[in-house]
Amino acid sequence: MTLTRRHTLLAGMAAATAALLPLRAVASVDEAIAEFTGGADLGSEGITLTAPEIAENGNTVPIEVAAPGATAIMLLAAGNPNPDVGTFNFGPLAASQRASTRIRLAGTQDVIAIAKMADGSFARASQEVKVTIGGCGG
């Protein structure tokens, strides 16, 4: 085929998008985790993340995190333009280290929760949430 200017531009844009976006997002997820954990190892026990397998709308996705004995739980959405979602810090009068909220997901992606335990260790849980695109703009 003849390579027109338009084709070249499109190909260039596609390559740039493919190359840059995922890398940038992944890097900032790693940065956010490193900032929270100080680079400590992540276990996988003692933390539960509950999220729908499929969300009917990415605007309002119900999420619950629980990590008995944690002092804080950080939530990340790996595929959002800014992966930070929020951090729950549990005080002395928290009856459990569990909380629910509703979050925005820009598309199908992994939701990640990192718990900071009272002993200084960290645990990680993640789940993929598929975000559907409605049939109608209605």
Binding site: P52, A55, P62, G137, G138
Partner: protein, 289 residues
């Protein structure tokens, strides 16, 4: 009435578009089997025998039955349901004196509970005015005639909040709009509109909500397009949506010029669509995707 059937090609294309990409969705065909009880006490009928006037459907289902468990759950508790924020705002309007007559809604109606049952029978023939009126038209008539206040915009914030409040006190009661007598000609006009194909996509209400409910339209689980749950809080735009705003959205999506909110066409269509839900419970303000 006679149904306008589609030219073959359009039908085939529509069927492919509607049924084609079901792979990614968890929901199976048709409504689910869940039961809706709000606040652990208001039992909602979400499935009923279709009214006698419906020729092509045996059972009617609330749109709630087509939503995911997570979306359904938000409607099951008034605290979780964000629509109730605006219901509370409407409570303040209910008590607020406005207009030259020095009246509020409460001055005449007392407690809003006094209007229990009203949502269930609207749109309704108004003898004095000689027209079928939606709840919004009746509210504005109260504002202009009784309160001597400015009417609200048909789908404006104040209006939709008030319709949510008035619907909320009728939750659990069966929708029961009259379609005979003086309302009949308006109802027939609404039926005509329901089966009329609009727009470049040549889709009628029936093409999606009667012929294909329960199927996936891309990743969306098509409901019967019932309006017993209106106004509805949509996760999509995180606000209350009126029936006419929804009609407008649907017709726009067929790539047609649409009717205006509060137009005679939409009043007629609302009466007809409401009558397709006769027997389902009033559910508004509901929660949908």
């Amino acid at each position: 009435m006679t149904r306008a059937f589609a030219p073959g090609l359009t039908t085939a294309l529509t069927a492919v578009a509607l049924a084609g990409f079901t792979g990614a969705a968890a929901a199976g065909p048709g409504p689910d089997e869940d039961q809706l009880v709000i606040n652990g006490e208001i039992e909602i009928v979400t499935e009923a025998e279709a009214p006698a006037h419906m020729e092509y459907v045996d059972t009617v289902y609330s749109g709630w039955r087509f939503r995911s468990d997570e979306t359904q759950a938000v409607q099951m508790d008034d605290f979780d349901n964000p629509a109730m924020i605006w219901v509370e705002n409407a409570m303040e309007d209910w008590e607020t004196v406005e207009g030259a007559a020095g009246e509020s809604c409460a001055s005449c109606h007392g407690d809003v509970e006094e209007l229990r049952g009203v949502r269930a029978v609207y749109p309704k023939w108004n003898e004095e005015a000689g027209e079928v009126r939606t709840l919004e038209m009746q509210i504005n008539d109260c504002r202009e005639t009784r309160m001597e206040a400015e009417p609200w915009k048909y789908s404006g914030g104040d209006m939709i909040n008030m319709t949510a409040l008035i619907a909320s006190v009728s939750r659990g009661m069966p929708v029961n709009v009259a379609i005979d007598g003086p309302a009949q000609s308006t109802w027939e006009q609404g039926q005509e509109l329901y089966y009329t194909r609009f727009g470049q996509l040549e889709l009628s209400c029936a093409n999606c909500h009667e012929d294909n409910y329960g199927m996936m339209i891309r990743a969306d689980h098509l409901s019967q397009g019932q309006i017993n749950g209106f106004p509805t809080y949509r996760l999509k735009n995180t606000k209350l949506n009126s029936v006419h705003a929804r009609f407008r959205g649907c017709i726009r999506d067929t790539r047609a010029h649409t009717f205006a909110e509060g137009s005679p066409e939409f009043v007629a269509l609302e009466l007809y669509v409401a009558s397709r839900g006769n027997g389902l419970s009033v559910e508004g303000p509901s929660v949908r995707n």
